[in-house]
Subunit: 110 residues, 2 copies
DNA sequence: ACATTTAATCGTATAATTACGATATTAGAA
DNA sequence: TTCTAATATCGTAATTATACGATTAAATGT
């Protein structure tokens, strides 16, 4: 491959892609809606709200957590999950930058 | 199995997840930035801007197209790609709904 | 007609995702 | 201590994604 193509993707592109990937499954969007729909963190009972096995939900929670979208901390026999407000704001900002860039144009299109 | 389960999530969740999945790779975000950064559709030369093989770029374009984020039409020996403004607006709207839901709260958090 | 150019598609290898059941772990209850 | 409940992790199978080179197809140029 041509040497001139060696440039990689930039940090923002990689970070945005990482977070959007975390949101790229209906179950994970549903989880975020459940978390957002409460006035507090959720300790337990997330699995009950989803049409998936407990281990699968745990996996989805893990991927949301490793992307930084949610936080989870052990509280006795349960784990409490909440949104990571800071990183949600980061996601919002990165996404809006892209969207602004994509929509602010008077394009002479084909 | 995955197909059956997907039907248990609602339409908005599925559609948003589908579109976000299309944006869940740095190369595809880069492609959208390239498309947005021009004042017109791009006919050719997208591959030249990315550190990926032509066939790989074509694959990424295909996935953006099948999610409805971009349009592509054949123009002579080239294919012209542009943003699908309508569906980008849909994505923006669905995403903002979710984000609004996720950020408009005074949560008593753990 | 033939060659060139552009982009899609094919074939394929590897990795990641998604799902489930089974098992392990841990904290609190009995 | 032993049992129970909640949740993470393991093992595994099936599917999808990512990447590349090779090939094909279609439009244009010579």
């Amino acid at each position: 491959m041509a040497i001139t193509k060696a440039k990689l993707f930039n940090e923002k592109q990689v970070r945005l892609a990482e977070m959007l990937k975390a949101l790229s499954h209906p179950a994970r969007i549903a989880i975020l809606e459940i978390l957002a729909g409460r006035n507090t963190c959720i300790c337990g009972d997330i699995t009950d709200e989803l049409p998936l096995a407990q281990s699968t939900v745990s996996q989805h929670l893990k991927s949301l957590k490793s992307a930084g979208i949610i936080k989870g901390e052990i509280d006795g026999v349960r784990t409490c999950y909440c949104l990571n407000e800071e990183n949600v704001a980061e996601l919002k900002s990165l996404f809006e930058d892209l969207m602004g860039y994509m929509t602010n144009q008077d394009k002479t299109c084909c």
